[in-house]
Amino acid sequence: MADKSPISTPAPTPAPTPSSGPANRARVLGAVRAALGRGPLPTGRAQGLDATLARHQRHTIPARGRADDLVAAFASAASGVAAEVLHLASLDEVPAALADHLASLNLPPALRLAPDPALAALPWHTRPLLAVEVGTGVPGVQVGLALAEAGVAETGTLVLTSGAERSTTLNFVPDVQYVILPHGRLDGALEDAWARLRNAHGAAWPPRTVNLVTGPSRTGDIEQTMIMGAHGPRRLVILMVPGA
């Protein structure tokens, strides 16, 4: 599932202005160093900082980020931020659960899948009336389905990543967002999810986009009243299933 190819480096867009040139770079870094009263860090010190960074040291993690029952903790936190959580017995139940849920919302039986072979392989034939297409978030897409790479129980947060088999735009364009979260991808805290992603992506870590999604879209910009469905999905439904 993870793209293990090393990071590719397409040619950067050419520097368009003098302000992106070396003179301004030197000016900013020079001003910072002058203010700190020193020149560039000695090599040893700089290497020390990089070595510390490579250890991925964690700071305080709240107790709620170390829950024993991750499924219960995640479901409770996600429900607390107005996501809907459905517990399914297996991935095979996904098509039926989606068809029924769409019907309960009075929505047409149609949805778009992220381009993930694991999603295409679900038994869609069990619900032949469900119109299933595959792609990204283009105009007019009303319902999307994605597979989460991880879930953070501490805050009920889904970890969604970009890639050849994922679609970032499909996480934001639809009105209704369905996300499958296998139990085996649950982590206690965000730090655990970082470790999981580093491990899965290897040299390609991090993917271009990592979306941490905690509930459906909302805004408090009118009279500080929370209204759901500002620009992203109005409704977020998380399908929790056993397995990896």
Binding site: L49, V81, E154, G220, Q224
Partner: protein, 477 residues
């Protein structure tokens, strides 16, 4: 060329007269009255639910202190990681170079419209009027930013830019700015107003050539930029157009993803009282070969604009600020007059410290004095920034520069303005009088806060009450 619709710090009117107007603006006062029940209450609830919050704050502060001491190193590491992933980094010493850089990127992309996520740095460098003057249409997509854009107003709060507007104001704006709007459509509820904005902005995301976002954090470890939003507008802005431009000031750096995790725990709780904002997005570089979607080009515009000059000075602590807005949500002066009276991009206590640095003290000598020195801002600041002390430093500088008369005139004006609003006057005067007495301050003791002037306005402060108690009580009254 004029690049600001309302040049800050250059208003022909004094702070005092703006404050006085604000205090008799009934709509504004209605909006401000929601602060204590909105942001402030939600923050308190969210923080009470995490017993480890003090430890998280201490960690967050230590992380930023470490970054500031090694800022050059982490900036260079960040740059190297962005470049390794195919992105570009542009270094901008000041607002003008930042504007020119963004314009050049837009022009190179042949852009006619750009969508924008919420960015205070974009406000700081007055990007929108500059792009417009150069034939590029900027479209704000954060609901609050969109509202103030069509109203042609500056933001009144760093988190809720349209916090000063009531739903009636918003309805009026939509009716006059959305030509296809059915006159019969009911727009009396926040829900219908949000739906209208969603519908209007949707096609703009798909049509934009460039998407510009701010950054809450820059992660040196991987060259990732981080945005934190609730609406999802920032994500549509940065994932649909061909080019993604990130506009950030240089102090937004954190070393690694673990450090970002700690700061995120502190930010959302302090800002909106959420455990996590709805959408926290890490982005690095353009789309990778084979990726299903994402922008073809990725530019990070790093803006100094006065930050480096704060390093190594007493103002370095201000660079820990994560722009959560808690200080203004709990400030009695902000709560009485709102954000516009500050006539600056950054308002409230953090603005009173930051604005003189970014825009120069001259023209803003009033701001550091816009305080009762009650200390509530420093109490709620998750980054432990001693805001009243830093405001006092600016006051000292303005005295030293011979600009004190302005501040004193301002003082008189503000107090007389406050006097028109009895509860605010009583509260602020009492607290300030008590604080000033304790400090033995000479500068402001001559303000009409002395016993003679306040005699007859008998509101003796009950001994032993905290400021919060008084504040809550006065708000209820």
């Amino acid at each position: 060329m004029s690049v600001q619709q309302q040049p800050s710090g250059q208003s022909s009117r004094s702070f005092a007269s703006r404050a006085a107007d604000a205090m008799v603006d009934a709509n504004l006062q209605t909006a401000l009255n929601r602060l204590s029940t909105g942001f402030a209450t939600r923050r308190a609830t969210a923080i009470a639910a995490v017993p480890e919050f003090e430890a998280l704050k201490a960690d967050a502060q230590a992380i930023k202190n470490h970054v500031l001491d090694n800022l050059d190193h982490y900036l260079e590491r960040f740059e190297a990681e962005v470049i390794a992933r195919g992105g570009s980094v542009h270094w901008c010493p000041d607002a003008e170079s930042a504007r020119q850089t963004v314009l050049a990127i837009c022009q190179a992309a042949g852009a006619r419209t750009v969508t924008k996520g919420k960015s205070m740095v974009a406000e700081e460098i007055a990007l929108n009027p500059f792009l417009e003057a150069n034939g590029i249409e900027p479209v704000e997509t954060d609901l609050g930013e969109y509202l103030i854009q069509i109203a042609k107003e500056p933001p009144s709060h760093i988190i809720g830019p349209a916090l000063h507007m009531t739903r009636d104001t918003v309805e009026g704006l939509f009716r006059s700015h959305h030509p296809s709007l059915d006159p019969a459509r009911d727009l009396t509820q926040p829900e219908t107003l949000v739906a209208e904005a969603r519908q209007m902005l949707r096609p703009r995301y798909f049509a934009a050539d460039v998407g510009i976002t701010g950054a809450n954090f820059l992660v040196a470890e991987t060259g990732s930029t981080v945005i934190v939003t609730n609406e999802g507008n920032g994500d549509l802005t940065q994932s649909l157009p061909r080019v993604h431009v990130v506009l950030s000031s240089i102090e937004k750096i954190v070393p690694g993803h673990e450090d970002a995790a700690t700061l995120l725990r502190v930010l959302a709780r302090s800002a909106t009282g959420q455990d996590m904002s709805v959408y926290t997005t890490f982005s690095c570089g353009p789309r990778r070969p084979g990726d299903a979607d994402g922008p073809d080009a990725f530019h990070v515009v790093l803006v100094d604009n006065g930050r480096s000059a704060m390093l190594g000075t007493e103002f370095q602590e201000m660079l820990r600020c994560i722009k959560c807005g808690a200080c203004m949500n709990h400030c009695p002066v902000y709560g009485a007059i709102g954000g516009h009276a500050y006539d600056a991009v950054y308002m409230g206590p953090m603005g009173a410290v930051l604005t003189p640095q970014i825009e120069g003290l001259f023209g803003h000598t009033d701001l550091p004095a816009a305080s009762t020195f009650c200390g509530r801002c420093a109490e709620v600041c998750p980054m432990g920034i001693p805001l009243p002390d830093l405001m006092r430093r600016w006051r000292e500088k303005s005295f030293a520069a011979g600009w004190s008369p302005t501040a004193e005139r301002w003082g008189l004006g503000l107090w007389s303005a406050l006097a028109r609003r009895p509860w605010a006057y009583r509260l602020v005067a009492r607290v300030a009088a008590a604080v000033l007495k304790r400090l033995g301050s000479k500068g402001i003791a001559r303000l009409p806060l002395t016993a003679g002037w306040t005699a007859g306005r008998d509101m003796p402060a009950p001994a032993g009450r905290t400021f919060s108690d008084l504040w809550a009580e006065q708000r209820r009254g």
